[in-house]
Every structure is written in C-alpha cells, then in structure tokens.
C-alpha cells in the first residue's frame, strides 16, 4: 500500500501534504493584530518612552531653564492667579503636606507631545473615556498639551491617550501598572483644600 523499503521517505511524503486550518484563522490573527498599537503611532510611543543619554552643557541648561520658564508662564496665563491650578498631579502626590487643591478641585494635566494630533486624559475619574469632552487637552504651542479638569478628592489612576491609540503615562507622576490591561498608568492623590 506504500513504500515497502525504508518507510522514512514515505512518511515524509505523507507529512509534506498541506494541513487545513480554519478559514477564520487569518481573520482571527488580523483581529488581534488590529488591537495592537499601529506602527506609525508606535514611533511616537517609542520616542516618548525610550531612554536616551543626554549630555549636559551650559547651553542645554540654559535652554531647559527657558523652557521651564515658558511652561510656567503658559500655565499661569491659562489658570490665572491660582498657582495650584498650574501644579501638575505629581505636585499633589509628592508634597501632601503643603497646601492642596480643594475637594473636587480642578487639576491641570500637562503633557509634552510634539508629534501628537490629539491628546486626551483618561482615568478612573472619567470612566477611562477617551472621548470625554471635559478631558480633551488643548495644544498650547511648542508641543505642550494641557487641560484643566475636575478630579474628585482621593487616590486616582490616569493616563494620557495620544491620537486615540497610544497610552502615555504622565512622565512627571508616579507610575502604576494597571493589571487589567497592562497599560502604563500614573498615580494622583487629590486632597481636600486646607483652610
């Protein structure tokens, strides 16, 4: 019925025949692939998250100082005289002993994302809703995006979402890992305002 001599060639010939897989396999693979961040957007993600060596020179220090000054001016112009509205969430988290925002205080979220076309803030305080109208950051120039939005008193997790697809943790805030989705999240503590 088959090769009566050495069976190895007969076995190999049999095993070389095509194996049928489910017709839906390609669609299942592509469905999973589409859920992953697209590469055009991954470049931004990689730029934001890849560690780089920075050489400190007097010129760079000067430029950095100027950028910080501009950032402070932009923030102050946006929120008026209340310096707490300029403070990023990390300030609240790192310095709980100093004057804190009022309950349900509005908090300013700031992200530097020069290549972004859209930046949203998602967190447990807005149901992780990337389309929530009150948490869409505005481009303030120079790649600086910010939004001032209400956050209830308490501990919260949040993240920025760039171009509706790439999650970016706040680089200035403590990092937490969301066990449900494995996305990088940041921590914020909003306390009641001290009298």
């Amino acid at each position: 019925m088959h090769d009566q001599r050495d069976p190895i060639e007969s076995i190999a010939r049999e095993l070389r025949r095509p194996v049928q897989v489910s017709v839906s396999l390609d669609d299942r693979i592509m469905g999973e692939v589409r859920q992953l961040p697209h590469y055009g957007r991954l470049k931004l993600w990689l730029r934001l998250t890849t560690p780089r060596t920075i050489t400190i020179t007097p010129l760079r220090v000067g430029l950095a100082a100027a950028a910080l000054a501009m950032f402070a001016i932009l923030g102050a112009a946006h929120v008026g005289n209340d310096i707490w509205r300029v403070a990023t969430p990390i300030a609240t988290a790192m310095f709980p002993s100093i004057k804190k925002p009022a309950p349900n205080q509005r908090v300013q979220f700031v992200l530097v994302a020069p290549d972004a076309k859209k930046v949203s803030v998602v967190g447990d305080f807005n149901g992780w809703d990337v389309a929530h109208a009150g948490y869409q950051a505005q481009h303030r120039g120079g790649g600086v995006w910010s939004v001032t939005a209400p956050v209830p008193v308490g501990h919260h997790r949040y993240s920025f979402v760039v171009d509706d697809s790439v999650w970016v943790a706040d680089p200035t805030a403590p990092r937490v890992i969301d066990n449900d989705y494995g996305m990088p999240n940041s921590a914020i503590v909003v306390s009641e305002q001290q009298k």
Binding site: Q4, L15, V19, Q20, L25, D26, I29, V33, H38
Partner: protein, 181 residues
C-alpha cells in the same frame, strides 16, 4: 502589493499600514500550519501557536533584522511557540487524539487504506521525544540542511544529526508492523 517582497511589506506595516500584515499571514500560514500541526498533534493547538507566532511577530516587527527573510524569522518564533505549547500540553494529562477532520481532508483523492497509514504516522510521530520530532520535521518535511536547522534551533549540528537518526530509528520501529501489514 501581493507580489511584493517580504521586505517591502514589512516596511509598509512599519509605516502604519497594518492591513499589509495580512499578506504576510496569507503567505506563510499554510506552510507553517503544517509544521505546527505535526509538532503539536492537533489543529486547535496548531492554530493557537500560529496565531501567537504571528501576533508576536507583529509586535516585534521593528526588531526583525533582515525583513527580506521575514519568513525564516517568523518560523523561528513559531518553533519556539510550539516548544512552549508542547511543554504546557505535556504537563496536562494528555491523550493523543487524531484529528479526524484533517485526516479525512488529507485522504481525499487517495487509496482507501491511506487513512490508516496516515493515522499510524501521526500516532508514531507523537510518540517521538519533542526534540526528535522537531529535528525530524525540519529535516525531512521542511527540507532544511543541518546548518540552517542549527541556526533556527540553537542546537549544534552533531546533536541535530543524532536526533534525526534516533527519530528515524524510532519511526521505523513503530511503523514496521503497519508497513508490512
């Protein structure tokens, strides 16, 4: 784009054309399904390994050093996935179950006793040690040379030759009675 080289398609995917990845899936799933099926012994595990290998390849596409040889790179990922799945399967109480559908499909247009022969081959193959089965399939079914197998598996050529030899001996032993029936 269907006729483009792997490198061209990989470049397009890396520029954000995620749908271009489907061409790579269609290009390689048949050949690699065969390997996964023979390594793991059933269609369900084979498809899991394939799906896993393709999605891992997509995630790591930027690290594919030679996109022109995407297929070989993907195959290396698949071989590793099959090892992992095979090890996991080995930890479960496993009874070898012949994939009847695959056998029926494979039996079309062939003599009536082909089913039994094919079933015996599948059964014998699954009785080989994993590393012997892997070496045998790469050598005799995927028609690789020992140097290529060594690069793919990270195992030395001498060890691979020994594995293939042992696999052949065992297959001859297991199938000799069936063959002479």
């Amino acid at each position: 784009m269907e006729g483009s080289s792997d490198a061209v398609i990989v470049a397009r995917v890396l520029r954000g054309d995620v749908e271009g990845f489907r061409i790579l899936v269609e290009r390689y799933h048949d050949r690699y399904a065969r390997y996964a099926f023979h390594m793991l012994g059933n269609r369900e595990d084979a498809e899991e390994a394939l799906q896993d290998a393709f999605t891992r390849a997509y995630r790591s596409l930027g690290r594919c050093e030679d996109p022109e040889r995407f297929g070989a790179w993907l195959f290396r990922i698949l071989v590793n996935r099959c090892r992992t799945l095979g090890a996991r399967r080995g930890r479960r109480a496993q009874t070898f179950v012949v994939d009847e559908t695959a056998i029926l499909e494979a039996a079309e247009e062939h003599p009536a006793d082909r089913n039994a022969w094919r079933e015996e081959i599948d059964r014998a193959l699954q009785q080989l040690r994993t590393e012997q089965r892997e070496a045998f399939l790469l050598k005799y079914v995927d028609d690789m040379g020992y140097d290529e197998m060594s690069q793919l598996t990270g195992v030395g050529v001498s060890a691979l030759k020994m594995r293939v030899m042992r696999a052949c001996e065992r297959l001859r032993e297991l199938l000799s009675e069936v063959q002479s029936a």
